[in-house]
Symmetry: C2
Subunit: 239 residues, 2 copies
DNA sequence: AGTTTTTTGGTAAATAAAACTATAATTTAG
DNA sequence: CTAAATTATAGTTTTATTTACCAAAAAACT
């Protein structure tokens, strides 16, 4: 930083776009939250929920603001994803509208499906889309979503983010289902997956048994954040 | 994106700051490139090499422009690191200078020390700093550097970035030295490190032997990018 | 009542990681 | 010039982990 010729510099508006994932355990689908745009450009088209950063607002604050505007939910996992800034990525950057660029700082978020109540106020549409049914999105949002999905897959392998989309209590089969849905079928043997997971030492058995259709009833487990805390920085493998 | 009240929105200048790492194999030190600032704010203080993004320039282009301005070098590894945008991170964001924010998109770069010729034109200072001797930097650059160093350590474990800082030809001992310098002493047994590395299958022995002081001469190896290409997306462990 | 389904708790074989040993080829010290 | 020290290389052995597979338990389904 420190160019002399201010006239050469670009002026930016900075947007924050969120890739908000969730999982519907009953239908076993990975979901992403989409908003139907009510403004030009791309009016009426589906897009990632986003906003332009306001005065005095940090990027993360802006990301949380969108989240709070669109869904009522307790637990939110949020981390920065990537920054997209290719010239021309936003049609508002028309050459006649002299020297305004639109940057998008994207954030990656996870919420629990059952806890998340969508807020439809003021937007013509808001919906959880199954990942395989996502339509053509506004701007470069398909690319951003793709980036977010890659992050989701990667982090599932070495980080306990699954427990931010799973319900508070879950069966080991639920976790396996989630991993299968994201990482593809037969990514690992179920029995081995179970033992590996339990050996990590931060899943506590509540003792409560639930029957889901046929088969022996399963134990409900809970993520024990106190048991996890000291392991936070140790490398661990989930798959 | 799509706020109605344009007056609430912040106007940004966007900067790109590079965390450029290298390694001096003879002294076995990890190095980062620093620039002495010739402009206010922080005039005369050391900082990461950066620039403000120009009209029509992509973020990555800006990152490459800095690199090209500061060092002559063939091979460059470059990837986006993180975006820093907390209000007040740049003193030029004074409340009187109405509503201008400074965002920094940081990039992570690796170059080969012997091949990299520093270009001191127009700056009062440019230097490779050993990581343990880095002074207080301008802006939030110490934080950015810390972030970059974490990325360096992480990527060394599962990605072949070592070969972007090592010379074209290197001994297995060189790699071990590099890993020791970054990851700390005795991170692994040398003998086991060797066999693990060779088993990955993309280091080719040139047959050339070199003597570095005492001891049996070592074979020079070379990173075989063709042998690596098909393994690119397979998970692999270096340490 | 018997079959199917799912959870659960295992074992055995294959692989990989960690610890360790020995030898080769050089430089350095005496 | 020779012995000692040093570093590279090539193993082996032991231990731990991963993978593949098996079987009983506890429920639903037919």
């Amino acid at each position: 930083m420190g160019d002399r010729l201010a006239s050469q510099l670009e002026d930016f508006k900075v947007g924050v776009d969120n890739v908000i994932f969730s999982v519907d355990m009953t239908l076993n689908r990975v979901l992403v939250l989409l908003i139907m745009r009510q403004d030009t450009p791309f009016l009426g088209q589906w897009s990632l929920p986003g906003t332009l950063v306001r005065k005095g607002e940090s990027l993360e604050d802006a990301a949380y603001r969108i989240l709070a505007e669109k869904i009522h939910v307790q637990n939110i996992y949020l981390e920065q994803l990537y920054t997209f800034g290719k010239p021309g990525r936003d049609p508002r950057e028309s050459p006649d509208q002299f020297g305004v660029r639109y940057l998008s700082v994207s954030y990656f978020a996870l919420v629990r499906f059952e806890e998340a109540k969508l807020i439809a106020d003021g937007v013509p549409g808001i919906a959880w889309y199954s990942l395989d049914l996502v339509p053509q999105l506004a701007f470069d949002h398909n690319e951003i979503l793709e980036y977010g999905y890659r992050r989701l897959r990667n982090k599932l392998e070495y980080s306990p983010i699954a427990f931010d989309v799973l319900p508070e209590m879950f069966t080991l089969g639920d976790i396996y289902q989630l991993y299968s849905a994201v990482l593809g079928e037969n990514f690992s043997d179920y029995s081995n997956f179970r033992t590996r997971l339990l050996k990590l030492g931060f899943l506590s058995d509540t003792g409560i048994k639930v029957s889901r259709g046929a088969g022996r009833p399963a134990s409900l487990y809970r993520f024990d954040s106190e048991a996890f805390a000291p392991l936070k920085d140790k490398p661990m493998v989930f798959i």
